[in-house]
């Protein structure tokens, strides 16, 4: 029987543009991810169970809750995107924990995730993000599902430095990298993937 090697969405797309200094984009490959959709009338219970599983408060809204093992992102009414650190049983465990209250759909390979940082990041982001990312208005507690350069993305903030994370359907990774490179322009960009 064949064994298969896993590749992230940005595999082979790593590159340095210009000075490379302005913005750093690092792929987070190998994360476990799942869409969690509450059953009819069970949004509150789903949030509660998600919270108790990971030890933080989860609300039904565009908010982020995070711990060492999991990140829960509100992406729609009664719907969350849950990321787990590399743990093969993460999604199955989540499914068991939410049995009867929510559908848990494995998306570990569906999304390509980048962490973005660097001194020129804010000016890069404003070339694609059509929502207000002012630090007072978009905090590490916030999540936005939106579009960048015609590509649907989930965007959240990891820290106030700021470091942002952007997840998007993996088939768009190459197109998204084009936006990143072009928009970084003279500021420079480094994309790192496995």
């Amino acid at each position: 029987m064949a064994d298969l090697v896993h590749r992230g969405g940005y595999a082979g797309l790593g590159r340095r543009v210009g000075s490379g200094d302005g913005v750093l984009a690092v792929e987070r490959a190998g994360l476990a991810a799942a869409t969690v959709i509450a059953r009819r009338g069970k949004a509150g219970e789903t949030a509660a169970r998600l919270g108790s599983r990971f030890g933080f408060a989860v609300v039904d809204g565009p908010k982020r809750a995070v711990s060492a093992v999991a990140t829960v992102l509100g992406t729609g009414p009664g719907t969350w995107f849950v990321f787990g650190e590399e743990d093969p049983g993460f999604v199955a465990g989540l499914r068991a924990a939410l049995a009867g209250v929510a559908a848990v759909v494995d998306q570990s390979d569906g999304q390509a995730v980048l962490h973005l940082s660097g001194a020129r990041l804010p000016e890069l982001l404003e070339k694609g993000v059509r929502i207000d990312l002012d630090p007072a208005r978009f905090t590490p507690a916030d999540v936005a599902v939106t579009a960048i350069a015609h590509i649907g993305v989930t965007l959240w903030k990891i820290d106030a430095v700021p470091t942002f994370a952007v997840a998007l359907p993996r088939s768009y990774a190459a197109s998204f990298r084009h936006w990143l490179e072009t928009s970084a322009g003279p500021a420079g960009l480094t994309v790192m993937s496995d």
Binding site: A103, G110, I131
Partner: protein, 986 residues
């Protein structure tokens, strides 16, 4: 130093000379110049030619309202036509050329057209060129086209790039003159988020041109201090060279010029950036534009707006004339006389149409001869101004001048206040349109509001800046109170001087004269909109800034109405022309739309695959091999391989939607015309989805993975549409159903493994532990099998008609899986195949696809009427039952084959009965898809034919005149290969 440059003063840097060229002539300007000011300083008055009569024209203004001085900037692919000399910032090597003239600017043969000008009045072309009709396109129109137009595009792709950006703020200030700076300072000091836009490269507006003081400081000094203070605020962002061009619902568009002023563009730097700005409050502080006066010969080079003359003199230290006169109906015109006098330039006369002038204004002229109650009747000269003829109490008098400053009043720059449909109000005091009803969250300050004095501008700015800060929760503690001069801005009504001998231009660029307006009125074009369209008044590149109000005033007088009764035309974005490239941003060329790549893309590229766009996806179309002469040979080989051995095709692009919940079965029964609630777990079924109007929307296979878990597949192109439709059905139609759904298209890499040896290949892949026997895994089974570190989903479904499977793994393993499949199938002769072979095989099997699922067919047309359940309700049921949609004469799916082997069939051919004339009445349908069938050795086709199923065996014409084809074909069963369906089990 250039001939007309003052030795001192101005905001130019005499230490930094800048070489540039105009019509190939090398010239020198200074840092801080615009092209226009540098031309003025070099004594160049003739800059361009007009649109219709090719009249010689000079510089009229000092800003973006410039109607005359348009040039081509740059060379080759960088050539940018119609660029206003007044907005070009001088840089070393700037290369500009005049336009709309041949062979030269000084000698333009088309200027001879002026002689025929009595024939070329308003709307002349509507009245002639009709005989003979054939000559219109061959002779008349090409001549008109050639003479019209202004600058030339290069015809080469724009070599620059553009980008877009989005920003949000509490206060957006448009214009950094005194009012705008006051607003930005007031709000900025509170910590409110402010964005300040200025189209010029320097902040200050009129403070850079006028000799005014604020708090005892000269204008430019106060501006410098304001700029320095603003720079200390993190919450204030200043965008210079940035023009707001449009107020839209909830957002404002602006364009920033990033490199147009640079001799060398830094690598990776776009030329322009399109901003979409969202502001809680916007203050429009765009100032006002001076209005010319219409009189004979008012287009002679050397005649300029009075405030513009002052700008050249005081901001740029450039002399627009060596002996000038001022023709004014405003107090402001007198300040130009004063400016010239203090610069030591002889002022020949101040001519004011008014008689009642304040003493303080009268004093500005000093001992210059003054003519009150007088007018300039005619300007005399050719390519430059030589004299003016003044009429007044003294009778007529000719005064020799080479420059004339004209001031007819000020038009507040209010276009943005009308973009959303709000109408301005005519002010009899200002003799101008001023803002009236206002869009939400927009306020107007200073001259843009018709409040012209410096003190008013500063007060407006402070008040509106404070209000915006307060609204943002940052109240102003101590309101600023700047002290400034309170100059007078009285104005008298003078739009038009009648009786001159020369042509009197209302719209300078489009050559619309007072006579054209009069003729339009005679012909009944008395609505302001009719006048504009009939004469093209106001439709030039200055968008009517220098012409509209004068045109209205003349129209009003001729029709016996007041100006407000006459009305005004509505301004629409863009306010100021904007490069088309800027609106497109980086979405050009191959990046016009995002491209989606499957997990096997890199592998397919390695194999030399030819790719095809399918929606946003790129799919392998075929895999050419060395020695193959054309695509048909490659595709034929791929089809043969599948039918005789095993082939692999990436089908990841098909939409995949995971559905779960207790009511999934019920939900699927409502969205599909066939039934899914009865589908056993571990089984897949083909489904057909209708629109509510009864036509087919999409098809695909849906599998039941668990009691409450299904995975539904869609066509590649319709994936998004189906997802939206299912969300609609769930959220809007049946919110009571407990269903959860999410797209998993991206999660799974999926490959079809098809052909008689497909099971052997998969067995090799999965190893002996997997039981893939027909007993354990029959046709239409689905299940999960371990594969290395992951689990693969296996579906036994077939599009080709052969024994076939689809194997899906998490997309991260997709690349590895295609390689593993190739290895596992090496000894079986595995062959990758693309969409073209896929299409051949589906046609051979009579399966419908995009060509038949075109939104114009119902299930019955496709031979799928039996799928429509009679036991349940579903989307589209009632509408599909309409009689007209069940008419047997509707074209219905059939197969077609040529009666002479070897003849090629082509999709798009229409069907005619043999012997029927080739007319619309004979049209009986059309060929939807064709392919060369390797198995049959000839071309085959699918088509929709009226009463098709009844006509099997009949010969008909496949009529294809557009490709010169006319083929006799036989109507056959649409299933060409294995109609009994045994091979899926083979």
């Amino acid at each position: 130093m250039s001939v007309n440059r003052l030795a001192t003063g101005g905001l130019v840097d005499r230490q930094t000379p800048i070489g540039f060229s105009f019509d190939g002539r090398p010239l020198t300007g200074l840092a801080g110049d615009t092209l226009a000011s540098a031309l003025v300083a070099n004594g160049i008055g003739l800059v361009g030619r007009s649109f219709k009569y090719h009249r010689p024209r000079g510089i009229v203004s000092a800003g973006p309202e410039e109607p005359n001085a348009l040039v081509e900037k740059g060379r080759g692919a960088y050539r940018e036509p119609n660029t206003r000399a007044t907005t070009i910032e001088l840089y070393p090597g700037l290369d500009v050329a005049s336009q709309n003239r041949w062979p030269s600017l000084r000698f333009d043969v088309q200027a001879i057209g002026q002689l025929a000008s009595p024939l070329l009045g308003a709307g002349f072309y509507y009245k002639t060129f009709m005989w003979p009709a054939a000559l219109w396109e061959r002779l008349y129109e090409p001549a008109i086209r050639h003479a019209a137009g202004l600058g030339r595009l290069s015809g080469a792709p724009d070599p620059d790039t553009y980008e877009k950006a989005y920003a949000f703020c509490d206060l957006l200030v448009i214009g950094a003159g005194p009012a705008g700076l006051a607003a930005a300072l007031t709000a900025g000091r509170t910590g409110a988020r402010v964005i300040l836009l200025e189209q010029d490269f320097a902040l200050g507006g009129r403070l850079l041109s006028d000799t005014v003081e604020i708090d005892g400081m000269p204008g430019p000094v106060w501006v410098r201090e304001a700029e320095a203070e603003l720079a200390t605020f993190d919450n204030v962002r200043i965008l210079t060279r940035t023009a707001a061009f449009g107020l839209y619902d909830g957002e404002i568009g602006a364009v920033e010029r990033l490199t147009d002023h640079l001799a060398v563009t830094p690598a990776g730097m776009p030329r322009q950036r399109l901003w979409t700005l969202v502001a809680v409050q916007t203050v429009l502080a765009a100032g006002a534009i001076e209005r010319p006066i219409v009189f004979g010969g008012n287009d002679r080079p050397g005649i300029m707006l009075a405030a513009a003359m002052r700008t050249y003199l005081q901001r740029f230290a450039a002399l627009p004339g060596r002996r000038v006169a001022v023709f004014t109906a405003t107090d402001d015109g007198w300040r130009t006389a004063e400016a010239f006098a203090s610069a030591g330039v002889p002022v020949a006369a101040v001519i004011d149409a008014r008689r009642d002038i304040a003493a303080s204004v009268r004093a500005l002229a000093g001992d210059v001869p003054v003519f009150l109650g007088a007018r300039v009747l005619d300007a005399i000269g050719g390519q430059s101004l030589s004299a003016i003829e003044v009429i007044g109490d003294h009778g007529r008098r000719r005064i020799a001048v080479d420059g004339l400053a004209v001031s007819g009043g000020f038009n507040p720059d209010i276009a943005m206040t009308t973009h959303l449909g709000h109408k301005p109000r005519w002010s009899d005091a200002s003799l101008a349109f001023v803002p009236d009803a206002m869009p939400a969250n927009l306020a107007v300050a200073g001259a843009a509001a018709g409040r012209f004095t410096l003190a008013e501008a500063l007060a407006d700015g402070a008040r509106l800046g404070a209000a915006a800060a307060g609204a943002a929760g940052k109240p102003v503690v101590a309101a600023p109170a700047w002290r400034a001069s309170d100059e007078t801005f009285a104005v008298g009504p003078l739009f038009h001087v009648e009786g001159g001998r020369g042509k009197a231009f209302v719209d300078l660029q489009n050559d619309v004269t007072d006579k054209d307006v009069a003729q339009s009125v005679r012909e009944g074009f008395v609505s302001v909109e009719h006048l504009k369209r009939y004469t093209t008044l106001g439709m030039a590149t200055d968008q009517g800034r220098t012409s509209s109000v004068n045109g209205l005033a003349i129209l009003a007088r001729l029709t016996g109405r007041t100006i407000p009764e006459t009305g005004s035309t509505r301004a629409r974005p863009p306010h100021g022309p904007v490069a088309i490239g800027a609106f497109a941003g980086l979405h050009t060329g191959t990046h016009f739309k995002p491209t989606r790549l499957t997990a096997s893309h890199g592998w397919a590229k390695e194999q030399g695959a030819v790719f095809v766009e399918t929606g946003q996806w790129l799919r392998a179309q075929w895999f050419p091999r060395a020695g193959e002469r054309d695509w048909l040979e490659s595709v034929t080989r791929e089809v043969d391989a599948v039918r005789s051995g095993v082939g692999i095709c990436d089908v990841s692009t098909l939409g995949k939607i995971a559905l779960s919940g207790p009511d999934v079965g019920a939900f699927l029964d409502r969205v599909y015309c066939n039934t899914f609630s009865t589908l056993p777990v571990g089984k897949a079924r083909y489904g057909l989805m209708l629109r509510e109007d009864g036509f087919v929307m999409d098809d695909g296979t849906t599998a039941r993975l668990g009691e409450d878990d299904y995975v539904l597949s869609t066509t590649t192109v319709n994936a998004g549409k189906v997802m939206q439709h299912l969300a609609f059905c769930h959220q809007v139609l049946w919110p009571d159903l407990d269903v959860q759904m999410v797209s998993v298209t991206e999660q799974w890499a999926q490959f079809a493994v098809a052909g008689p040896r497909s099971r052997a290949l998969l067995q090799q892949l999965f190893g002996p532990a997997a039981d893939l026997s027909d007993a354990a895994f029959p046709y239409l089974a689905c299940g999960t099998f371990p594969l290395g570190a992951t689990m693969a989903r296996l579906f036994r479904i077939s599009f080709s008609g052969e024994r076939a499977y689809e194997i899906a793994v998490p997309a991260g393993y997709g690349d590895a899986l295609i390689r593993a499949l190739m290895v596992a199938g090496r000894d079986l002769g595995v062959t990758p195949y693309g969409t073209e072979a896929l299409a051949v095989m589906r046609i051979e099997k009579g399966h419908v696809a995009g060509a038949e699922l075109n939104g114009q067919t119902v299930a019955r047309d496709l031979g799928l009427g039996r799928m429509m359940s009679r036991k349940k309700d579903y989307v589209g049921r009632l509408m599909a039952e309409r009689e007209a949609l069940n008419d047997p004469s509707r074209p219905t799916l059939v197969g077609l084959q040529p009666t002479v082997p070897g003849v090629r069939l082509r999709a798009g051919a229409h069907f005619l009965s043999l012997g029927a004339p080739a007319t619309a009445a004979s049209d009986e349908g059309y060929m939807t898809a064709t392919a060369f069938s390797p198995a049959l050795g000839h071309w085959i086709g699918l088509g929709l034919l009226a009463r098709g199923p009844e006509r099997i065996g009949e010969q008909i014409r496949a009529y294809d005149p557009i490709r010169g084809g006319d083929v006799v074909v036989e109507v056959v069963n649409p299933v060409f290969i294995d109609p009994e369906g045994t091979r899926v089990h083979g």
